[in-house]
């Protein structure tokens, strides 16, 4: 078994290149290496000009999302041994505009995230001395899954709807909206409706399901979107009361 592996990455310098090109590097291979290790080796020892995002290197910050052999992956969690001795092709996350090399423009996602107000919205807090804001385990069970989102955007890279309709609010934003809508401490359902229930919101989704398939945290944004559709429909048929199905 060879002790090196070929790693091909996208290269794009907006000052020089009309369109992206590829560059291949020979990287030393060890069983416990991940794709991010290979990229760090390239940058440190072979080509310091390679640009990419990374941070925690342990699958919690969501910074290092890229396409690895055509699949959206966290490069800190994609082991080279799963590809070796085949070549590994690393590309920037699909469906996002490329700024440089493996770095994509994430501003559209951040705007969408902001539009769904992913925080507890509670304009009328309880009185001081009124006691804790109790939330039971059965209640947190309803939204714990959606709270695992690390904003890595792999779901956007996998989503063909986001690919052909960049205005689509997208899986992560909708899943996070649902997380807060289901939180008993939150009263922001009405404020989130404008974004979530707009034409570019939940209704764009055709339930391909790729978002849930690629999510590294098991969030299941596809489920969040479909349940939001059902919730929205019932809200129109039965508009009275505060209800979240």
């Amino acid at each position: 078994m060879p002790n090196t592996i070929k790693v091909t990455t996208t290269r794009y310098d907006p000052a020089q290149d009309a369109k992206p090109r590829r560059q291949t590097y020979e990287v030393p291979y060890q069983d416990d290496m991940v794709v991010l290790d290979a990229l760090n080796h390239i940058k440190t020892n072979l080509d310091g000009s390679l640009s990419y995002r990374w941070s925690c290197r342990m699958g919690i910050c969501g910074s290092c999302g890229m396409m690895v052999n055509g699949e959206p992956k966290l490069t800190c969690a994609a082991f080279l041994r799963d590809y070796h001795p085949r070549e590994v092709v690393v590309e920037p996350m699909a469906n996002f505009a490329i700024i440089r090399d493996l770095v994509v423009d994430i501003d559209p996602f951040l705007e969408k995230l902001q539009s769904v107000k992913p925080w507890i919205v509670n304009e009328v807090p309880g009185p001081l001395g009124g006691g804790e804001n109790l939330v039971f385990t059965e209640q947190t069970d309803q939204f714990r899954q959606y709270s695992q989102c690390i904003n890595c955007m792999l779901c956007y890279a996998a989503c063909p709807v986001f690919g052909h309709t960049p205005e689509f609010l997208g899986p992560a934003a909708i899943a996070l909206a649902r997380r807060y809508d289901l939180d008993p401490r939150d009263n922001g359902n009405e404020e989130r409706k404008a974004a979530v229930r707009s034409s570019e919101g939940i209704w764009e989704c055709s339930f391909v399901g790729e978002c849930s398939a690629v999510c590294p945290k098991g969030v299941d944004p596809a489920k969040a979107i479909q349940q939001s559709k059902f919730d929205s429909t019932l809200g129109v048929l039965m508009p009275f009361g505060k209800r979240l199905w």
Binding site: D107, P108, E111, K112, Q114, S115, P160, V161, H164, T165, E167, L169, K193, A194, A195, R197, S198, S199, E200, G201, I202, W203, E204, S206, V208, K229, S232, T233, V236
Partner: protein, 126 residues
């Protein structure tokens, strides 16, 4: 780049209505249609079972019952609406370079045409 904070509340109402209609149509047609295809399309033509549409007398008798006509009309609506909705999104997924408005007009238009044909046939048959 669109400013998502400017979404008009309720701007997705029509989309919601179209989706809710599709969800119900697809669900009910999923439950009802396979039995028709199996019995009328396979068992009957292979003479493995008597079926109402294998003979003029039995078909005529069934169609003379208004409830049967209403049932066939409803199933027709379910089937053709599901067709229109799904084909619209299929064409979008395939990257067909036609604006969504015209795709909607074409696919839902075909669905309405199918439903119209069904109603015409069921009304005109004695």
């Amino acid at each position: 780049m669109s400013d998502m904070s400017e979404h008009r509340p309720g701007s997705g109402r029509m989309d919601g209505l179209l989706w809710a209609t599709f969800a119900n149509c697809a669900l009910i047609s999923a439950i009802l249609v396979p039995a028709h295809i199996f019995v009328q399309g396979v068992l009957g033509p292979l003479h493995l079972s008597p079926v109402i549409d294998q003979h003029y007398d039995t078909m005529w008798a069934a169609l003379n019952n208004p409830l049967v006509k209403i049932y066939f009309g409803i199933v027709s609506a379910l089937v053709f609406y599901t067709f229109g909705h799904r084909v619209k999104y299929m064409l979008i997924d395939l990257g067909v370079p036609i604006p969504k408005y015209w795709l909607s007009l074409a696919t839902y238009g075909l669905a309405v045409a199918g439903i119209g044909f069904a109603v015409f046939v069921l009304i005109s048959v004695p």
